[in-house]
Subunit: 390 residues, 2 copies
Amino acid sequence: MGQPPLASRMAQIAPFHVMALLGRARELEAEGRSIVHMEIGEPDFPTPPAVVAAAREALASGQTHYTPALGLPALREAIAEHYQRRYGVDVPARRIVITSGASGALLLALGVVLDRDSEVLMADPGYPCNRHFVRFIEGKVRTIPTGPQEGFQINAALLEQHWREPTRAVMVASPSNPTGTVIPAAEMAAMASLVERRGGVMVVDEIYHELTYAQDSPSALSVSERLFVTNSFSKYFCMTGWRLGWLVVPEPYLEMVERLAQNLFIAPPTLSQHAALAAFLPETIALLEQQKQILAERRDYLVGALRELGFVIPCEPDGAFYLYADCSAFSEDSMQLAQQLLEEAGVAVTPGIDFGDNQGQHYLRFSFTTELSQLREGVARIGNWLQRPA
Amino acid sequence: MGQPPLASRMAQIAPFHVMALLGRARELEAEGRSIVHMEIGEPDFPTPPAVVAAAREALASGQTHYTPALGLPALREAIAEHYQRRYGVDVPARRIVITSGASGALLLALGVVLDRDSEVLMADPGYPCNRHFVRFIEGKVRTIPTGPQEGFQINAALLEQHWREPTRAVMVASPSNPTGTVIPAAEMAAMASLVERRGGVMVVDEIYHELTYAQDSPSALSVSERLFVTNSFSKYFCMTGWRLGWLVVPEPYLEMVERLAQNLFIAPPTLSQHAALAAFLPETIALLEQQKQILAERRDYLVGALRELGFVIPCEPDGAFYLYADCSAFSEDSMQLAQQLLEEAGVAVTPGIDFGDNQGQHYLRFSFTTELSQLREGVARIGNWLQRPA
């Protein structure tokens, strides 16, 4: 009896440490402990009522069959109008592909671009799944260490320096997870131009883009028509469990993306697509903008409160609902600190090591996806814990 | 300005010819032509009422957040009970992973098993996406030509003959798409045993398994605990647009599959999972069994009627809702024949070339996913067309 074969790629696909912490938090809660959740990457707001109503209507009218592989034409049109209305950018609906979450969008974009051993540049720290998508299809990941100086983002100078012959693509996220920092439009343009000159492509993750607080930052789509943009209904639109995202595709890749989408996914979830048609209604957008305001208030509170405790927050988040805090005043081991905060203080946070190898042991990610009262409680608990007797 | 990079894998990922035919059929219908659809791989029955009701309740109670990556524990339990009740086989819920369609299940199973250039054996003709999943992650496909003699299925003797050093996996489907043929339990056991001895794994597609007409064929899970089984709510349960499937995982792969599922999909669609809990209710199963009976009647009609027209049906389908008919009495080019039937007779069918290179030009796949009256009309149109003046 032979050993069952195991793909070598799995050695390079790390588990999320936060999942173990979340599991432990649920155990503690089952034992009756109170836990403040600042580890979760999911808005605490429910799906907007108009979206839920649209799903109910679609159910009632029997909309349960497959849609076209690239999604409902009406939804692709609605997203095109959204780009026009919100960002003043003209993106034809035929370039917009509906996907099963932003995850589906990333698989499609990388799948049509990368050969085995093609290299992809990305920032460290960064969203861990990006590394794993590349490894999944046998590409190579080359991370670029970024810190507070660059706003934890790649820039054109860093790209220039790290680009090599096998490099085919660059992945950036604006705003970024875990740091919430935004890439300025001029820098995005410089990078896009460099990547195009080198004959590569850029994949821009904008899934937190509708959640920018300070400036109204332009979409990367206004910078170039030759980049892939991934987006999602999960975060701003509060539709995580609906598993719906989209991919904006450069013209030359359209036919290939359709072919791959047919094969990999058949089609995105039908009910979610009908529901998402209501995501762009004025009443929905008004509600979502109010919720964004609530997130902004939480952010302002949390930045100040954590700094008072002695955490260093080198870059205040421009967007998303995360805050990346240097905890090296308290620990050289973010995973151990996260475990202690959970077990001893009853606060769940995400260790920086989930986001890469670059200084991750010195950072914690705090999500502000819970009510202000809970954030206050969490901060109080951390404060008490930090002052515990030695 | 460089040329944008294009992954070489895309040269090996073929479009579905049937999609072009379906598109053309829709055009003709838009022009007012009547088309009988015998090309569609999707049941014409609506999602069962109890499933729709469960979705409505989940919506009302705000079940719109992420679930665990491996799916709702209650749904995994319900599937385990289904295996026990229907097949008398004991599959612990922990080995059952909920996925975004059977497509998600296939990506996970292949992803944890295959290295680049690992070879996968599969029958030709076969479900086209299987080849493309393997190519997507840089594995190699080795098809085994099968014909009426083997019921269009791989068997242990063929496996023995084709297994080579780089072979890591075998994919089979029972019942098969496009032929509807079932692998006998003894043959499945012989293959499983051979594959295990060789240190490979078997991936068994059972998405049409609840739709077997003649005998009550055992699940491959009763044969071995060391194979992957993919299944789906799409076909028997009439839930195509819900994009929900499952994967039964051999014990040694559980942790790896969870890790990959977290990274590739985050979680399957939440509403679909809550809805699917009602798929196993006695009232739902009773309805589905009635519908299966209707499919059986359609099958019996269509086999007889097409044979009368001169099509050769070497293997009557044991399951699924497809019939694979040799059309070489009428044409040496199934694609051209399918086009003619569409344009000149108003009947849409799928050319055999969508399912591989082995004799595909001599076969058509007929789906009986439309009412008997429509099937009769389709047969009459084909009959008239065949008797057209030369």
